[in-house]
Every structure is written in structure tokens, then in C-alpha cells.
């Protein structure tokens, strides 16, 4: 297996890349399995049982991916990509004016490409490597995907191919900056967006994702026995939604409101596209949440169930609040409820019961609603598509509620392994987990806000963030991308 991959890599690489590959190989030589006696029948049966239980196979089957696990994780990866392309692109695209619809699609596509390259070069290594031995940044052993082969990386999953795991995590890295697009829609230069996001991934996302999910992560309560902050985040409440949402608020303040904000009509140009995108987000979110179990096991089944219930309850709650207080249940209301429900349940999905999911659904349908319709109007910031109102408010709410609702009854990992060493298990049983969650919330919030303020301000005073007013008026589709969304 290993030989095959090395041969393939070398034959594909031109001399320049070969030099890079050799350099990377020298940084981390793959472990050579020692010659051992053939496994006994007991060991072989135990390995198969471990496959079903998603645990360590022991001697037999080590280094072999599980076909079922890989099947599900490749499907889940595609589902998470589907959330961005075209789910989020259409959700956001429908909400902007027709002269800017393509700019949103271009931003989502551009980020999918850009982040994938960053991920291959150093992003994955910085998040999921361990060679730095740091709680804040991973390592350099997986630079250029070196050693990221079809054999599982047992730090994270015994049965999922390392390359599948890396691509699955890439999809999270793609959607997170794409979420920020909503706050600054209709008024950012494409070049400024790409540069901002490159720096933001480096300073905010990669370190934060390592802190929460990396094997040596500083805030990885479930898997790092030495975690200082015993926080839990099942699928990205802090890493994905809080980080993007809070950064979105700061960036939209630095960029400033759209020309004509508050005076001109800026209604969505297509609620149909918006609804189609929302439905795709919901479907894709099964890959996001249930996939985060990294197996098609009982934890995934629980996450699948709680995700459905939270999204449905929040959808209905938001719609009914509008119906009661405003007279009409709007499509945008239902869509907002769906997304808010999914956001809030994200950090909790694999840790809570269905009762917890209903509580989350009700709060997700009310708290962000209140922020978007009341608080936002009061402060007058132009968070164009409500990235802050839904992702920051929802993500923060979810991270906190996870501390109250998580239970070892649905997820044995909370009361075993690393959690016994670092104290998480005790917190889950005794009820002090929300303290740790608050710490994680504060750190995520501070990092996102400060880093975005610095990067945004620097770019504003160097390359400039906005197009010239004439171009903004004419629409970014024509002026930034040379195309029109709709030809009459």
C-alpha cells in the first residue's frame, strides 16, 4: 500500500515537486510495521468487532481503513461541500440584489479553491498535526499532505482513511470563511476578500480548529488528556459558527454599510433561490453533524436525529413567532429558523438527547430572531445577510447550551478515555461543564474579534476593501466579474 503511493506520487511530481516531497518525507518518515507472528483467530475476530464498535483493532487490521467508515465519510464530505456549493451560495445569492448575485457565487467558488490549496500546503498540518507539541497549532508533519494516505490516522479515527479524514475536514474549512461573506455582501472587492480570507484562515481558523479538535488541542476536552480547557464542540459551534459570525460583525463594521443602506430598498432578489439554498444546507448538514462522529455508529445516529429535530423545531418556531407578532409567516423566516436551528445544534448534536434538541430548537427560533429584528435595528450596523445574527449569536448560544445539555448517556466518549484524565467526565456528571464552555466561548470570541480587527484595518489602509462607489452602485457582477446573473 505504502509503496504504491510513493511510486504514484513520484511519477506524478515534476522534479521541483519531487524535491519538495523528499523534503517533506524527511520531516516525517512513516512507521515501518515490525515483522510479527500471524494474528490468532481471536485477534482477528477482536479486530472485526473493533470495526463494528469503531475502536482500536489491535494487532490485526491495523492500518487498514474500514470500507463502511470510508463510505460514510466520503458521502459526508460530499454533503458538507454541498452546503457551500451550491447551498450557502444560493442561500446568500438569493438574499442579495440581482446586480450582485454572481459576486456571492464567485466568492463561494473562489474560497472553495483558495482554502483547498491552503489546506493542502499547510492548513491541514497546522490543524491536525501534532509535531509542534503545542495546544495552539498542530505541526508540520503533514505539509503538502505528506503522509496523508489511505491508511487511517489513529489520532482521530481507527477506521477512516487519513486522506478521507483530511478532505472531510477541508470541507469545514471551506464553509467557515464562506459564512463571513454574508455580512459584507454587495460591497467588498474580490481581491480584498481573497487576501483577507487567506490571512484570516492562518490567524484564526487553523489555530482555533487545532485548539478544539487537534489531538494536542488546548481546548479539546474529549480527546486530549492534557486539555487545559475541558470544552467540547461536536461539529463546530465555536470553530465554525462563532469564529465566522463574530469576525463577520467586526469586518462589516470596518468595511462600513452599503451605499444607500437604510435609505434604499435592499430586499432579496429571489426568495426562491434562498429557499432552495436553505434546503440544501439542511440536507448537507447531516454530513456536517452526523459525519462528525467519524463513523456510521450510534453517536452518528444520535447526531442525525438531534439535528433533524432541532432544525425542524427552530424552523417552525421562527415562522410561528412571525405569524403571531407580524401576521405573516415568511419564507425568509422559515429559512432563518432552519439555519439557526442547525447552527445552534452543531456543537451539541452528538452529545444531547432529543429533549435537548427540542430545547435547542425553541431557543434557536427565538434568540437569533430577537437579535436580528430588534438589536440590529437599534445599532444600525449593516450585517447584510445576518451572519452575525444567526452564526455568532446561534453559535455562542449553542456552545453554551452544549455545556448544559451534554450527557454521557448518549455519548460514551464524554465519560471515558481522555475525559477521565483531564476531568471532563466529572464535569459532565456533576454539571460544571458550562464553565469550561464559557471559557472556550470567550477565547474564540476574543481571537476572532481581535484578529479580524487587525487584519481588516491593515487591509483597509493598504489595498483598500471596497470598490469605487460607481462600481458598487453598478453592481459587483459586472464590475468585479464581468458577467451578469440574468440576461433578459
Amino acid at each position: 500500500m505504502d509503496d504504491f503511493h510513493h511510486t504514484m506520487n513520484l511519477s506524478l511530481f515534476n522534479p521541483r515537486w519531487t524535491a519538495l516531497a523528499v523534503l517533506a518525507v524527511s520531516l516525517s518518515s512513516p512507521p515501518v510495521p515490525a515483522a510479527e507472528a500471524a494474528p490468532t483467530i481471536d485477534q482477528r475476530v477482536a479486530a472485526l468487532e473493533a470495526y463494528v464498535r469503531n475502536s482500536d483493532p489491535g494487532t490485526s487490521l491495523t492500518g487498514v481503513p474500514g470500507p463502511g467508515h470510508n463510505g460514510w465519510m466520503m458521502t459526508a464530505s460530499a454533503l458538507v461541500l454541498f452546503m457551500t456549493l451550491p447551498g450557502l451560495a444560493l442561500f446568500y445569492g438569493g438574499l442579495v440584489r440581482r446586480k450582485n448575485v454572481l459576486s456571492v457565487l464567485a466568492q463561494c467558488l473562489g474560497l472553495a479553491g483558495l482554502v483547498s490549496i491552503l489546506w493542502w500546503v499547510f492548513g491541514y498540518s497546522f490543524v491536525f498535526g501534532t509535531s509542534f507539541g503545542s495546544g495552539f497549532l498542530g505541526g508540520r508533519e503533514f505539509l503538502f499532505f505528506e503522509g496523508v494516505t489511505s491508511a487511517p490516522n489513529t489520532h482521530y479515527a481507527h477506521w477512516v482513511s487519513h486522506n478521507v479524514f483530511a478532505i472531510y475536514q477541508l470541507m469545514f474549512a471551506i464553509i467557515t470563511p464562506a459564512l463571513i461573506v454574508g455580512a459584507i455582501a454587495e460591497r467588498l472587492k474580490f481581491s480584498a476578500l481573497l487576501l483577507f480570507m487567506t490571512l484570516w484562515m492562518l490567524v484564526v481558523y487553523f489555530p482555533l480548529a487545532h485548539m478544539i479538535w487537534g489531538a494536542t488541542g488546548w481546548m479539546n476536552g474529549v480527546w486530549n488528556p492534557a486539555a487545559a480547557v475541558k470544552a467540547i464542540d461536536f461539529a463546530g459551534g465555536t470553530v465554525v459558527h462563532m469564529s465566522s459570525g463574530w469576525s463577520a460583525l467586526i469586518l462589516c463594521l470596518i468595511v462600513g454599510p452599503r451605499i444607500g443602506f437604510g435609505r434604499e430598498k435592499m430586499a432579496p432578489h429571489s426568495m426562491v433561490l434562498c429557499m432552495v439554498g436553505t434546503a440544501m444546507l439542511w440536507v448537507g448538514w447531516y454530513g456536517f453533524n452526523a459525519g462528525s462522529a467519524l463513523a456510521a455508529d450510534g453517536i452518528a445516529a444520535n447526531a442525525f436525529t438531534t439535528t433533524t429535530i432541532a432544525a425542524a423545531v427552530a424552523c417552525f418556531t421562527w415562522g410561528m413567532i412571525e405569524k403571531i407578532f407580524r401576521g405573516n409567516a415568511s419564507i425568509l423566516g422559515f429559512c432563518s429558523g432552519v439555519v439557526a436551528g442547525l447552527v445552534v445544534v452543531t456543537p451539541a448534536a452528538g452529545f444531547i438527547t432529543t429533549t435537548g434538541a427540542v430545547i435547542i430548537g425553541v431557543l434557536a427560533g427565538t434568540v437569533p430572531y430577537f437579535f436580528i429584528t430588534k438589536i440590529k435595528a437599534r445599532f444600525g450596523y449593516d450585517d447584510a445577510l445576518d451572519t452575525f445574527g444567526i452564526h455568532a449569536v446561534g453559535g455562542t448560544l449553542g456552545a453554551f447550551l452544549t455545556g448544559l445539555l451534554a450527557t454521557g448517556a448518549v455519548n460514551g466518549n464524554l465519560a471515558a478515555g481522555a475525559g477521565l484524565t483531564n476531568g471532563l467526565a466529572g464535569l459532565v456528571t456533576a454539571g460544571g461543564l458550562w464553565h469550561e464552555q464559557l471559557k472556550a466561548i470567550a477565547i474564540t470570541l476574543l481571537l476572532s474579534v481581535l484578529a479580524t480587527a487587525v487584519i481588516g484595518t491593515i487591509l483597509k489602509h493598504t489595498i483598500g476593501l471596497r470598490p469605487i462607489p460607481e462600481n458598487e452602485r453598478q453592481g459587483l457582477d459586472l464590475t468585479e466579474h464581468g458577467e451578469e446573473g440574468y440576461i433578459d
Binding site: K265, A267, P268, N328, T373, D386
Partner: protein, 112 residues
Amino acid sequence: MKLIIAIIKPFKLEEVKDALANIGVEGMTVTEVKGFGRQKGHTEIYRGSEYTVDFLPKIKIEIAVNDELVSKTVEAVVKAAKTGKIGDGKVFVLLLNDVIRIRTDERGDAAI
């Protein structure tokens, strides 16, 4: 000859067309238009943002008729397009100087 311009609610178009066909009107031109009168516009709310939409969609029908058909035509349009609620629209009757049928070069009443 008169040119009759009627601005009506879009969903009334079929009824008006049938009513006109019944009294012998043989042609008309229909356009989708936007505008407002006393009805004014409406309000749309998207999350926290409220927008007033001034111009509402309407249908404009243009009909050229001989003098003897004018009152019957106006009557038919008004009857078919009426809902009794604000926003039903208006009918304008204009003097028509001449009409030319392009295919035959006929002029005046014969061309209608």
C-alpha cells in the same frame, strides 16, 4: 375612432379579454406595467428590514375602436375589471387621429 387604455388588476385580464371578445372587439395590445394610484404600494418585511414598495404590478390594455363601440367597450372593461376594492384601475379614452393596417394600406375605420 378612439383609443381606449385600461389599467387593470393582473388577475382580471382573462375576464376583461372575454368580455371584449363578446361585444365584438377584435384586437388589443396587453402590457405588464407597474404603477400606483390611490391604492399606493405595500410593505415587505425581510427579517428586520421593512421596505415600502410603491409600484404595484398592473396590466395595461390598449384597444382601438370605432366610435359606435366606444361606450360598449368602456362598459365591458369596467364591468369585468371591477372588484369594488381600491386598486381596480382606470380607463382612459383618447381621440384617435388615424389608423393604418400595414398589410393592406387601409386607413381609418376600415383599418381597425
